[in-house]
Symmetry: C2
Subunit: 308 residues, 2 copies
């Protein structure tokens, strides 16, 4: 693949509290805001508490999931008296850190999330993006715990997450951590990933060339809901103990998936795929017990900064 050059990446936004009960980002942002110097060498860092009202309430959101509000359609929708708080906040964040798709947007936007699923540290990004893939490979090569990537395949206009507001962006998703709880081990993983991102940006801006290569990523294929009572819609089974906590371990046809509250086991049908977001708290309401992905290989070119 041909070598790629990209203009300097000098404006970084670190966001937390986009979901108000995901505490790694809340405490990461608070900690970074204590230190007045918001510049690390060639990188100017903006730290943002994305959803302060939800953080105060220690809830995922107040009116509406903020991290589903950043589509072009929602960002350009008119404001009325009944506009949900999170949509107003999305427009504010788009003004501060974007505009999405515009020349004034921050160069890189990292949004910190937690999951109750045993996913370790994952980067989630929307499309093939050489900068993000290089940062992913850099973080992966430096951390001792597994680091995985999930690549969504959504056009930018329909991308609904905060990180889509930056010129480049990814979510840092780390678990398992219960809502409302901060775990030191998870916090330290997030801190390491943020520090490595800043380090990569500084080395990139200073003119270093990063070799091309390839990485594995997970590409979502389908979602699976909990078994539910057709009348009440209440769930009738929990994720099976053999699937629980086994995110990213290949789920084969016939493997147990659910254990009903009366004791029956349900099993996986169809192709062998990789489960993730297994038993994530916030996805009960979205009717997702787990997602399934195929593993893909992404090849990317060498990269360096574009000189003026």
């Amino acid at each position: 693949m041909e070598h790629v050059t990209v203009p300097p990446l000098s404006r970084l936004a670190i966001c937390g509290g986009t979901h108000g009960n995901e505490m790694s980002g809340v405490y990461m942002v608070r900690e970074m805001q204590k230190h007045k110097d918001a510049r690390a060498g060639s990188v100017a860092i903006t730290t943002v508490m994305s959803n302060p009202r939800a953080v105060d309430a220690c809830r995922r959101y107040i009116d509406k999931d903020l991290n589903r509000c950043f589509t072009d359609a929602l960002l350009s929708s008119p404001i009325t008296d009944s506009t949900p708080y999170e949509l107003l906040r999305a427009k504010e964040l788009n003004d501060q850190l974007g505009p999405k798709g515009g020349a004034g947007a921050v160069d890189l936007l990292c949004d910190i999330h937690n999951t109750t699923a045993n996913m370790g540290l994952c980067l989630i990004f929307y499309s093939l993006d050489w900068v993000t893939l290089h940062i992913y490979k850099y973080i992966q090569s430096k951390m001792t715990t597994p680091v995985r990537a999930i690549q969504l395949d959504i056009p930018l206009s329909e991308a609904y997450s905060l990180e889509s507001v930056g010129k480049y962006g990814f979510a840092i998703e780390v678990g398992p951590q219960p809502g409302g709880v901060v775990r030191a081990d998870i916090f330290n993983m997030v801190k390491e990933a943020v520090d490595l991102t800043i380090e990569w940006l500084q080395r990139f801006n200073s003119g270093e060339t990063f070799d091309g290569g390839e990485v594995e990523a997970f590409s979502p294929v389908q979602t699976v809901d909990y078994p539910r009572d057709p009348t009440t819609n209440e769930i009738t089974a929990a994720v099976h103990p053999q699937l629980q906590d086994n995110d990213f371990k290949l789920l084969q046809p016939g493997d147990p998936t659910f254990l009903s509250f009366s004791g029956e086991t349900m099993r996986h049908e169809g192709a062998a795929l990789y489960p993730f977001f297994v038993n994530e708290c916030a996805y009960y309401e979205k009717k997702i017990a787990y997602q399934l992905a195929k593993k893909i290989t992404l090849t990317f070119p060498s990269i360096s900064v574009k000189k003026d």
Copy 2:
């Protein structure tokens, strides 16, 4: 110790959803309510969803922690327009299952709770109570996972939890499980404890004598708050990785307790004690990072049913 006889224990209440985001009890009660026959031999079973509004909202409580509302003072307080929902509900539950301290109360009240702490299955009870200790020993002898007891030392009039409404009562506290999540392994532990409780009651009512003996229990000594910023009151440190998930493992002087977000380790001072409720989600607002207990040995007499 002298043999003890107790009148038949024929009325059992199983309560769940006292905290609306602790899902084992919510699903246990829903599952039991599907089966019309609410009698198991000599035992009539009442199942109660304690805080249905909080369950619907998937929150611990709406206005006030329901499981702090069952003191004599609160139960007898006058109702006004500003009475919190949970206090109204506490009075309803006291009417249905009590009255607390009265002859009409259910014989045994089991209230099901979850914690984000790695506490396994615990029974929590207020005072020396032969019935509860026998049931505890019975459950412990039958389950393959550790079962522990926590004995609070609070007079009945000041006892604030739902289980204090029954003639006998205990909370079943199981973790780790995030709020809003149901785990099959945790659900199955709760189900086994409930089934064994019913089994013991049937055997007791049928005239079986249960031998006396002794059991270990944990007696709370103090609570420890998170380190906090004196100005903002925000926490400045997480539970240390060496303490996290190590509930009931003896904490020695000098052992790490907290790791600040800037990287400093804090250590335990004072006597060696047993930590529990380590990093429980709901206790951040109660200013409790963990509790400390001493281990005690409780001796109890043999018991059988009092014949008319």
